[in-house]
């Protein structure tokens, strides 16, 4: 099975991916770090500025809050869908799978505009409600927190569903039968057997959604109000308006640090890697 590798071949085979890693990750991130501390001269002045600004801290908090809400929403909406997809095989599941995957291939800009068509003051929902005389004027469905959460949940839902689906498909559902034969109701069998076994999927999906959500730009920019700004918008502001690359870099590094810190907390609290090995 294993063929012998000459040191030269080994160096070549390993060298390519290492080179790619350096070129694509180490250099840009290193560049970012350098920019944040080198301008002007070697100092942490920009970080002081970032952390001294109440606005920045508030937006950072908002970002984490929105990210966590979206993560919870995708888990709550995604779990039943993934469960249905994983446990049944019929025309509906094939169709449903298509509905999950196709948006995944579509630009999130297009998908965000699609929601704006639905949720706007002259959107389908408000005009529909008005024509039924259920509301006067319009419901505030967009340019607020609600709009941001709906838009982001929708865009990020496939990540959660596909991760959960993969894990749920790997679960032996005869275990649920076994639980029932031991006296469990269908609900108890799910609660004590299937749900714990699917936790790696929930944890993995949540981590994926949360991290992607923290860096979201398009949806909050288009669907949010003034009070729903996310950190990516701050970074954009620094570059596009203030031309302050060092400031943008410093904010990015703080965001990176927050993500890493949260990951460590997550790991400690939920034992993410332990869950992945399902050793719970």
């Amino acid at each position: 099975m294993t063929s012998r590798l000459t040191p030269l071949r080994a160096a070549f085979l390993l060298g390519l991916p290492i080179l790619a890693l350096v070129a694509l990750f180490v250099i840009p991130i290193g560049n970012l770090l350098l920019r944040s501390v080198l301008v002007p001269g070697l100092s942490l002045a920009k970080y002081e500025q970032v952390l001294a600004s109440d606005t920045n801290l508030y937006v950072m908090w908002l970002t984490v809050e929105i990210g966590a809400s979206v993560t919870a929403a995708t888990a709550i909406v995604g779990y039943p869908i993934a469960y249905y997809l994983a446990t049944r095989r019929n025309l509906l599941t094939r169709l449903l799978m298509l509905f999950v995957v196709v948006p995944y291939f579509t630009s999130s800009l297009v998908r965000t505009y699609a929601w704006m068509v639905l949720l706007g003051n002259e959107g389908i929902i408000n005009t529909g409600l008005r024509s039924l005389a259920l509301v006067e004027g319009s419901l505030p469905l967009m340019y607020n927190r609600f709009g941001v959460l709906v838009g982001m949940t929708y865009v990020l839902l496939p990540y959660m569903i596909l991760t959960l689906y993969a894990v749920l498909r790997g679960i032996d559902f005869r275990l649920a039968q076994a639980a029932e034969s031991l006296g469990a109701t269908a609900r108890q069998a799910f609660l004590y057997v299937v749900l714990p076994l699917s936790m790696p999927g929930v944890a993995g999906g949540a981590l994926l959604v949360f991290i992607v959500a923290l860096g979201f730009f398009i949806t909050p920019a288009l669907m949010g109000g003034d009070r729903d700004m996310m950190i990516a918008q701050v970074i954009d502001l620094q570059i596009e308006t203030n031309f302050d690359w060092a400031m943008a870099a410093a904010v990015s590094v703080v965001l990176l640090a927050v993500v890493l810190a949260l990951f460590v907390v997550y790991e400690r609290a939920l034992g993410f890697s332990r869950l992945l090995e399902s050793k719970a």
């Binding site: 076994a178 034969s181 031991l182 006296g183 469990a184 108890q188």
Partner: protein
């Protein structure tokens, strides 16, 4: 694990149709309290579907399941109070051995002390006391099997259902587990419905066997009855090796009933055989009831001239494969010894048997 004597299980007209095709076709069967009954059949014979209907995982299209006199057909699996051992063991991978065993007890809201005591006792019974904190995947196949068995028994179910529980084990382990299950059955007196496709396993363990063919019970009875007195050709062929001889019932020179084979040979029948002159019937002779004699043994003993095709040494005996004059195979299992050593492929010998060992299959109902 001190189960009260098991409950009787009665199946009445139990039927399951999948897309119009009957997988199980009107089964009537009464399992006695404390009986070890095996559903034996090839894959697709409906044996597992039948078991799953008793367990409550498959809803019957028609018919009923009664346990201890109560109709449980509408009840979900959890309310039937039956222990089920699955072929895949179905141990909960995220729980330790002790927590797997405690699961059915916790569902029944037993006190912690009671649960602890029962788990300890169960682990001692299956000799796994030192593995209580292990996870299922840290156990060997045989150990997992024992945990599955202990978990199915720990809540003292009214009966135990086992779906090919030894299918995943290697041959040696399978035999020791057979003994183990038999031992536990005898000690607890539980009613057991056991599903297998392995006829040796069925013969070795069961009080009674129901042979399933095409969704129906072809025959049920004790292992001895099924082996030596099968009621139909498929049953005879399913259980062990058999020689089947078909011909027309006739009278010999002495006026006794005999069977004239299609090839023209005539074989004697037992004096008390129930057959009518002129009927077309089949007799079955088990290879171990067959002897091999030199061709000069004379025509007096019932038997047939056969040509040896091959010999297979199986330790205590030799299996002689031969061909009858009509070309059909004839198997004889004879003691290994001087007589067997003289046999060579190609020799013409005489296969003989005691007419009382030739079991005549009942006439086919038309």
């Amino acid at each position: 694990m001190t189960t009260a004597r098991g409950a009787p299980i009665v199946l009445g007209g139990l039927t399951k149709r999948f897309a119009g095709v009957a997988a199980v076709d009107g089964i009537d069967l009464a399992v006695e309290p404390g009986e070890f009954l095996t559903l034996l059949g090839a894959s697709g014979s409906g044996k597992t579907t039948t078991l799953m209907m008793i367990a409550g995982f498959v809803e019957p299209t028609a018919g009923s399941v009664r346990i201890a006199g109560t109709d449980v057909t509408p009840l979900p699996p959890g309310k039937r109070d039956l222990g089920v051992v699955f072929q895949s063991y179905a141990l909960f991978p995220h729980m330790t051995v002790a927590r797997n065993l405690a699961f059915p007890l916790a569902l029944r809201r037993m006190s912690r002390r009671e649960i602890e005591a029962r788990v300890t006792r169960a682990l001692e019974t299956v000799e796994l006391a030192d593995r209580r904190h292990a996870l299922p995947r840290e156990l060997s196949g045989g150990q997992q099997q024992r945990v599955a068995l202990a978990r199915a028994l720990i809540f003292e179910p009214r009966a135990l259902l086992m779906d090919e529980p030894l299918g995943a084990l290697d041959k040696r382990l399978r035999q020791s587990m057979q003994t183990e299950i038999k031992r536990i059955h005898e000690r607890l007196g539980a009613t057991i419905v056991y599903v297998t496709h392995d006829q040796e396993e069925a013969l070795a363990m069961s009080d009674r066997i129901a042979v399933m063919i095409g969704g129906r019970i072809a025959q049920h009875g004790t292992p001895d009855e099924l082996y030596y007195r099968p009621n139909a050709q498929p049953v005879a062929q399913f259980l062990g090796e058999s020689n089947l001889l078909t011909g027309r019932v006739d009278r010999n020179a002495h006026g006794d009933l005999c069977l004239r084979l299609d090839g023209g040979e005539q074989i004697s029948l037992a004096a008390d055989v129930a057959a009518r002159h002129g009927e077309r019937r089949t007799v079955m002779i088990r290879p171990e009831k067959c002897r091999i004699a030199g061709d000069d043994a004379g025509g007096a003993a019932p038997g047939l001239p056969v040509r040896i095709d091959g010999l297979r040494f199986i330790g205590h005996a030799v299996m002689v494969g031969a061909s009858r004059p009509d070309g059909l195979p004839m198997l004889a299992q004879i003691e290994a010894g001087p007589a067997s050593r003289g046999l060579r492929p190609g020799m013409i010998v005489r296969a003989t048997w005691d007419p009382r060992d030739a079991w005549m299959l009942p006439a086919a109902r038309s």
